[in-house]
Symmetry: C2
Subunit: 227 residues, 2 copies
DNA sequence: CGTGCTGTTGAGGACGATCAATGACGGTGG
DNA sequence: CCACCGTCATTGATCGTCCTCAACAGCACG
């Protein structure tokens, strides 16, 4: 998504770079004090279960709010973390300042609410996907990430493990799904995830981007944060 | 959940009863004009797919807001409906009046936001459940509904089809899971879903109610809506 | 040149889907 | 009262998807 709305609040934020892959960016403790925005890199909202399994709920791209879930629900979301999947930089705003801003500009609160609802929308989509065959699940996730990365991008900066932990397949079976997609001429033969036939990929995934709803979100935010 | 917060806004609402099982209570069109609260009965947020399959995302009990998802995201949630699962009555508030109320009382908006986040929380839980074996999935859903119905309730007003459409199992396999739960002495032998060993059920489901977070939600709302 | 992470392959088995048929129950109308 | 119907619950059998285990290959890192 565009980063337009970040310009407006950049002066309120403390910027922190140099976050490394694997680091936990946002957890309950942090979220209770700061509000966080991803500026550069790729992150994910995740839970690590006792047995070592990891559930990835969603991916965060530059411009996304991090740890929204903990903002109003610290207790019920203790187990959720935001983990850096590449080297990242973030911006933070003191919780107090955020509260004040929301007081003065109710539309800011609404923008955050809207962002939470897009998250919920992604979760609903994942639930639907959970009933699909493996190849379609993987294909749909790739479509989603292509969409979020923007039209020029063909390489998705994820590995197969991360995909597996997101769509709920074993790594082995995820790998076999990737091979299917290569055999179908959708992905390149390279080791990374490179899409060579976007159209075909969307067909396989039955992808409809509306659930990601970029429509009204940015305009509202941009409109009111500066006023 | 308690209905305390409903008292505060009851005078703003138009009450409409006599809604029958199977009726669509809230869809995009309705949500754009009215804001809806479930007063009596049981409903569910659902999507019907082309192939006839139904995905139930969550259940709504008295006191829940209906069609929240459509409030800010009409276009991206066109396919989602709220369907009555029993005879229901609802309260509606004109969209305009709701907007005004949110203007005057920012905390109202926040309460709605909070409610959306609990929904998201339920969806996340469903994603985790999707990786569990069938019996555990069913058990967890039953725990969730027991929790929402209140401590005195042992009979869950769902049928096996609705459970299947929620946890993402075939009806046949859902039925076999119910038989397992009966054999384990968790459910009674009756045709309805009656829990006789709650403790055991929670153990099987590894149930932790925190994701439903009733903690701060009601207090905040009650505190400010009247002021 | 080892070490670690990711990707790949094969084999076997479990879980759950599907199909098809039957049973139980409540309601309706004759 | 009985016959009929629709909905939901139940059963058996077969099949396919996906998981698990185990091993190895490719590549980047020091």
């Amino acid at each position: 998504m565009s980063n337009g709305h970040l310009e407006a609040i950049r002066n309120l934020m403390k910027v922190r770079g140099g976050i490394c892959r694997g680091e936990i960016i946002a957890d309950t403790v942090r979220s209770s004090k700061h509000f966080t925005v991803l500026l550069e890199g790729l992150a994910c909202m995740t839970t690590r279960h006792e047995d070592g399994a990891r559930q990835i709920y969603a991916f965060h791209h530059p411009g996304d709010f991090l740890g929204l879930h903990g903002l109003l629900h610290p207790k019920s979301t203790e187990h959720i973390e935001v983990e850096a999947l590449s080297n990242c930089s973030i911006g933070t705003i003191d919780r107090d300042i955020l509260e004040q801003t929301m007081q003065r500009h109710p539309v800011v609160g609404r923008a955050l609410w809207r962002a939470s609802m897009i998250e919920a929308s992604i979760f609903r989509q994942r639930l639907v996907m959970a009933r699909w065959p493996a190849v379609q699940r993987v294909a749909h996730l790739l479509c989603e990430q292509l969409f979020r990365l923007g039209p020029d991008n063909r390489v998705i900066p994820l590995n197969q493990i991360e995909v597996a932990d997101t769509v709920g397949l074993s790594i082995v079976h995820t790998n076999r799904s990737f091979q299917d997609l290569r055999r179908l001429g959708v992905l390149s033969e390279k080791r990374c995830i490179e899409v060579v036939d976007t159209k075909r990929l969307k067909e396989i995934a039955v992808f409809d981007s509306r659930y990601l709803d970029p429509s009204e979100f940015l305009s509202r935010w941009d409109l009111h944060i500066e006023g």
